[in-house]
């Protein structure tokens, strides 16, 4: 993992001191809320439905055990004993006191963490493939590039007041586990026929009220020119992105309105100019960063055999454990989606336990996934059973990864001041309706995503089954979408028809799964069947 140098630490420490002074001035009445609000937002501190909410950045979703333990301790010391892992690979605390905010940032800084780039119209915290550095299908580890991107984007003066917030995801595999094409910029590290590494730029994707899939703008940018190409993409956006209408201010609108070809032309022109300035980081810097992400000390000659005699363990093994690049090791995903639970929530004790398990079994590393789960990336196969037993004892062994109960849900109207309807109770009811794991496995891969408003933090556009909560004259109403996807086969869901109340939407989901079971052919996922037979049979079953 990357470790702060003196400059990183000095910047973060200075930011804490600056914010402490700002909070003190606010509490002393020396600043109005209008003056203070943009300052607290720059430090991840929102005012939400019930209290202040602090969003802590987890750069490219990567944590060590000391950082994870600190997140648990903060939940206990300053919040109400839990945290919420988000679809941006971050963590949020829902019950923060303004008086404590600077102390929390100081605690975070002590483990090389902060809340910078978690709010405002800047380049937000970069997300990445949660299997980076471990996946068997990886072309190149994206984390060094993500770290380079973090250093470039943090406090970048030119891009600190963009027309709108800006989200970047980076992956290094053919398998997209980061919803890359639904970001403002998605970068895929690819290898060409000559075996050279390059960056493919997808620009202008996003969800929200105007969902769009990003087109390819730069097909093969040399890795050492990645930053210059980003500069060019951002500079064109910063120049022409709309500032008169926040609903049309994201880069996806610009790319759509002028067209991908014209946007690409302008980027290439700007890129050619930037290359003359020599802004690229020196190769030695990238190599220095890469050194932090070298493989840990994997043992060799390990057996790949696993005793599957415990049937519950075997189910978890099949569902939540993925192939690792190193023989004898595996990637473990810890589901934060127990039956009837709140997607993404973890208690302080659970957070600390996951930290301890990472220390003991995963070379001190954890990852947060955009699907609101936690990954231990490097677990020895021989340790899997012992690990599973510890997770099971803590309620963390749900064997439901990528099944219908592995639901992405935003905080919704239970916590969020922007929401129109509650998301979590719907997720809980669906999770309980499909509690039987055998039934879930019969349904196979089925990604269900719920948002409590059109801002789509719950990624409903990209759900095989998506649910959007809306406000109908003060009453919660839920629209059903089918056919979305966020991977290599990214697609946007289509609304089935009129919405439902809370119980009705759960019934509608069940009817959609019944259609799938009746109509599927061998090997088809829910999404495949939907794409083959279309919306009509589903509508007939749901509304007929």
């Amino acid at each position: 993992m990357y470790q702060y140098d003196q400059y990183d630490q000095a910047m973060v420490d200075a930011r804490v001191a600056e914010f402490r002074d700002q909070v003190n001035r606010r509490l002393a009445g020396e600043m109005t809320e209008d003056q203070f609000k943009p300052l607290r937002l720059k430090n991840g501190l929102y005012l939400q439905l019930h209290a202040y909410m602090l969003r802590v950045a987890v750069p490219y979703g990567t944590l060590n055990s000391a950082q994870m333990r600190m997140l648990g301790d903060i939940a206990d010391k300053y919040d109400r004993g839990y945290g919420h892992f988000t679809t941006r690979q971050n963590i949020q605390y829902n019950w923060i006191k303004l008086e404590d905010a600077a102390d929390i940032l100081a605690d975070l800084a002590s483990v090389e963490m902060h809340a910078i780039q978690t709010s405002g119209n800047c380049i937000r915290n970069t997300t990445a493939d949660q299997f980076a550095g471990a996946a068997a299908d990886e072309v190149e580890d994206p984390r060094p590039y993500a770290e380079l991107l973090r250093q470039w984007s943090t406090f970048h003066p030119e891009f600190d007041y963009l027309p709108r917030k800006f989200k970047i995801a980076i992956i290094g595999s053919d398998t997209d586990r980061a919803a890359m094409k639904l970001h403002d910029i998605g970068i895929q590290i690819v290898k060409n026929e000559a075996g050279e590494i390059g960056c493919r730029f997808y620009v202008g994707g996003g969800m929200g009220r105007t969902p769009m899939i990003a087109p390819v703008i730069g097909d093969f940018v040399p890795p050492l020119q990645m930053i210059s190409y980003l500069e060019a993409c951002l500079r064109v956006y910063n120049r022409y992105g709309r500032r008169d209408n926040k609903y049309k201010a994201r880069i996806k609108i610009l790319v759509h309105e002028i067209g991908a070809d014209e946007y690409r032309r302008q980027v290439e022109e700007e890129f050619a100019h930037i290359l003359t300035l020599g802004l690229e980081p020196p190769p030695a810097e990238l190599e220095r960063i890469k050194g932090y992400f070298a493989d840990p000390g994997f043992e060799t000659g390990l057996s790949g055999d696993i005793d599957r005699s415990d049937p519950d363990f075997a189910l978890w093994l099949d569902q939540n454990v993925h192939a690792h690049k190193q023989p004898g090791y595996a990637i473990v995903t810890i589901s934060l989606k127990p039956t009837g639970g709140i997607p993404g929530d973890a208690s302080a004790d659970q957070i600390r336990l996951m930290a301890d398990l990472a220390k003991a079994h995963s070379f001190d590393e954890l990852r947060v996934t955009h699907a609101q789960n936690i990954v231990l990336p490097h677990v020895k196969k021989a340790d899997l059973y012992a690990l599973w037993q510890k997770l099971d004892a803590a309620g963390l062994a749900s064997a439901n990864l990528d099944l219908i109960s592995d639901i992405i849900a935003c905080p919704g109207l239970d916590y969020c001041s922007l929401a129109n309807a509650r998301s979590i109770p719907v997720a809980q009811k669906i999770s309980e309706r499909f509690a039987d794991l055998g039934r879930q496995r019969e349904l196979g891969e089925l990604k269900l995503k719920i948002s409590g408003c059109i801002n789509a933090c719950g990624h409903h556009h990209a759900g095989h089954i998506g649910i959007l909560g809306v406000d109908r004259k003060g009453v919660e109403n839920y629209q059903l979408l089918l056919g979305g996807s966020e991977g290599a086969d990214t697609s946007l869901g289509t609304i089935t028809g009129p919405g439902f109340n809370e119980d009705g939407i759960v019934d509608a989901v069940e009817k959609a799964t019944d259609v799938y079971l009746a109509q599927r052919t061998d090997g088809e996922r829910f999404l495949d069947t939907y794409r083959r037979i279309g919306m009509a049979p589903f509508k007939e079953a749901i509304y007929g």
């Binding site: 606010r26 509490l27 019930h50 829902n94 303004l98 003060g474 009453v475």
Partner: protein, 98 residues
């Protein structure tokens, strides 16, 4: 009736205007009349409350019930964590919101 709400500057708690000060309990809220702007401006300036505004509410029985579900959730707490709400001992408290 119009009642006034906002968040406590220091703690962030949801609070309600009682006519003399602020309370965490919605049932302490009083009718602020049709022109509460002066109260809101004074209280914001006094740095006691942040993000304050007026909402519609009604008195039902002995309870003050905000008209919109969003404000009822603010008044009670998250319906999915009633243990953290203002009525942790009442398992049916969430029904009041709906």
């Amino acid at each position: 009736m119009k009642v006034l709400t906002g968040n406590d500057l220091k703690t962030g708690d949801v609070i309600w205007w009682t006519g003399e000060g602020w309370s965490r309990h919605v049932n302490d809220a009083v009718d602020a009349g049709e022109h509460p702007e002066a109260i809101l401006a004074r209280e914001e300036a006094a740095q006691r409350v942040v993000g304050s505004y007026a909402i519609d509410a009604a008195v039902t029985g002995e309870c003050v019930r905000p008209a919109h579900i969003k404000e009822r959730i603010r008044a009670l707490g998250p319906t999915v964590r009633l243990d953290l709400s203002l009525k942790p001992a009442d398992p049916a408290a969430g029904n009041w919101v709906i």
